[in-house]
Subunit: 264 residues, 4 copies
Amino acid sequence: MSGFLRDEGANIITSDQHSTDPEGGTFFMRMEFALRIPPAEREPFAQRFAAGVGEPFGMDWRLWHVDERKRVAVLVSRYDHCLLELLWRARRGEVEGDIGIVVSNHPDLSEQVEAFGLPYHHVPVTRDTKAQAEERLLELLAGRYDLIVLARYMQILSGDFLSRVGAPVINIHHSFLPAFAGAGPYERAKERGVKLIGATAHYVTEELDAGPIIEQDVIRVSHRDDVAALVQLGADVERSVLTRAVQRHCEDRVILHGNTTVVF
Amino acid sequence: MSGFLRDEGANIITSDQHSTDPEGGTFFMRMEFALRIPPAEREPFAQRFAAGVGEPFGMDWRLWHVDERKRVAVLVSRYDHCLLELLWRARRGEVEGDIGIVVSNHPDLSEQVEAFGLPYHHVPVTRDTKAQAEERLLELLAGRYDLIVLARYMQILSGDFLSRVGAPVINIHHSFLPAFAGAGPYERAKERGVKLIGATAHYVTEELDAGPIIEQDVIRVSHRDDVAALVQLGADVERSVLTRAVQRHCEDRVILHGNTTVVF
Amino acid sequence: MSGFLRDEGANIITSDQHSTDPEGGTFFMRMEFALRIPPAEREPFAQRFAAGVGEPFGMDWRLWHVDERKRVAVLVSRYDHCLLELLWRARRGEVEGDIGIVVSNHPDLSEQVEAFGLPYHHVPVTRDTKAQAEERLLELLAGRYDLIVLARYMQILSGDFLSRVGAPVINIHHSFLPAFAGAGPYERAKERGVKLIGATAHYVTEELDAGPIIEQDVIRVSHRDDVAALVQLGADVERSVLTRAVQRHCEDRVILHGNTTVVF
Amino acid sequence: MSGFLRDEGANIITSDQHSTDPEGGTFFMRMEFALRIPPAEREPFAQRFAAGVGEPFGMDWRLWHVDERKRVAVLVSRYDHCLLELLWRARRGEVEGDIGIVVSNHPDLSEQVEAFGLPYHHVPVTRDTKAQAEERLLELLAGRYDLIVLARYMQILSGDFLSRVGAPVINIHHSFLPAFAGAGPYERAKERGVKLIGATAHYVTEELDAGPIIEQDVIRVSHRDDVAALVQLGADVERSVLTRAVQRHCEDRVILHGNTTVVF
């Protein structure tokens, strides 16, 4: 691979490797290199890479050009903390992606989103209209975005939706998974008397809260903190964990390995 | 309570309170006070407290004199890290208790324990001799110790043992409970791909790894850490979490509240 | 004190004490109690407290009624992270105070502040106009606010200003003081090769970055982080440290003790 | 470099790179590779490397064979915490080096060291005998050890000693440098009212506490912690920070860059 890049005139900037086992394991690699390739020559470059490196070494590989920024859609319900953190980070240029749309099953946050110059779509969901709502979401999202972020979106997406939306979906769950998967994690944390609460950002799969974990963090709590205090303390962990996961994903640092992730 | 102590001539050093609910909740309090009470006058003092404070306010209460140091027994299997940390902390005077005995189902650690001037009892356990082994443990421990610490003791104690040993039992479990209760937590953490591993010190109840949590902590891990690395990183968390739990318990800072703890 | 409050019919909610020395030290106490006192009876209540408790025990004391919310002014230059975090926290009801004004020596952040429904005053400062600028600040602030927060305000306030503004001033400094006091802390941190960078919230005194510390925190960095990365990583520490300091202050949890603080 | 190793039949296990600047900066690299080289062929291998890679690319380079374990000497005064942590880690096989000697200016810790099967040398130091003491240390250490660790050795080593001992010297300082360099850091931390205390492991240079930093960490403290409590809390940070620094050094992960370090 170094040889191929040298021959193409590229300058390697960073290189990360990981092998799951010194002998016979799966080998992962991420390389950033500097090479100006005009749009018209990108497809030929990829073909040369496939022929010279990808196929001979039996690689799964992908190529990402830094000027092709990720298009990001955010789904949210009523809580503003994860959403605003993402919008603010993106505005500061701290996310290698462009948030292009915010969709919510509630109208509450429209004004705040529009203050960032972004369109806000209200797609209500009731028990009876869930299927239509997902159709509406697919119209808005499918084929238009490279990443869907659930920033405390309190609806479960169907397997059908996940397969048709055509982009990975990152969710923030408000517990340190696998503890307290499912509903009411702060209530259950209080009941169990844990001394740390956490949050987990993971790719969404059909099985609830069971997808590959990208990032987690925790914060210390005590008997003094009631459920409302856990919600408030946890909100800070949620927004930082989700942000880091979205940043890593948009920088193409996250590689799936079965149901786990390699994060370079 | 302040009034009673003032009348007795005591000087309050620290006072902690906690109410589970501003109205109608359970009220917890821990007070340290300075008052020299000769041994012969301790029982009368306790009776005055009961009559003047405990009974009128319907309190559950206990009184601990700082010169009556906790007698601690440690049970261990083969791993030395939690045991040595406890022995070393106790020797430095950082535990308000005296470790008086170490019992193990393996002979491996006898030399290290004896270097601390402590007796080491080897009580082997096999599937067939578990009942006799528990009888032997009860001979060594029951009525002689105020606290039993399981410093990575890899045997499950029976409900019969727990009720007869006559002292609280603190265990260290090598996961952030309630995640990965039971066997093989590091293997399961690796399989699930968590980004943090942890340890939990809790009081032992008949239900495995489900007793009241005293202390927890975590450490960051990555895809680079194989199970052996998790074991090594986790060992540091285990020893510090168990030590803090034993210290808090020996300072009478831990109060049970249902299946949770108040730690002042 | 308990006796006085009982006699007045108050219900003690929380009580924190600290003594700098078991014998002869300074004693600090903070009590929250529930007692409905109509505005007209507050002055008489304070007089009874002074006569019955404050004077007999030689206390320095103050009384704060929860419905008299702190009036907070924020000064800022060009960086938005600390300011926005404060405005957002206040809007969520997580600060026991009301931000009433934002003043800046730059015009940049006016639109963002006005989106929160707050007045933004631009008071430019040059080397020659510093005295007039401080006069203008005093017109805007003196006597009108209970707390002045410097949310990355890059001007040094004169001792004259500090004595005339009539309210405590909290600053966020972008290092773990006392390391890297003064200008360019991130540059100097990079040059010294530290493995942690931090932020410090402190009360402003005439001596630069030397006032009583309220809160500090740090984040891990490595040789890979250049100065720009330190600035970005540090911004997260700055905004959380300043927020916690302002919250604690507004809840009257911070008591001065010489050049240090007791934070209950 | 990859080409050279491939031609020699080596298998690259890990590779880390760092460039201080994308253009014209200093480039750092650490590679672990698997290649069985009998002792007699190591010098020829090094010469081939120098001729084929080192000289053409103008590298500063060194080669370490994993079976040539680092020989480590530990200097200590009276505190046992850093010393015992190192001895215990080494016994567990968690340090890529062999501690071969412990030297102290006090006799106190001899028994504990000898329990690990290690020689303990007592070399007293007074103001008048400092020069002779350093001569004695040089007899014991110079040319015999690859690393000298000061595990709370409370004597300042002269520049003459440092240049003659012929091995890097790692010290643990009980503050987050550059704060509180020199004597009495915990006392000064208490006086300044900091909310975090720390420890710093660094290479020793002639200028006191000013050498390249390898590792740092901190722990939260409050107004409740007197100097004795800071000493106790800090001890835990000191032993873990020093241990990590010694581990990284012994794995050849630390590369000097001016007065800073690259830690791969």
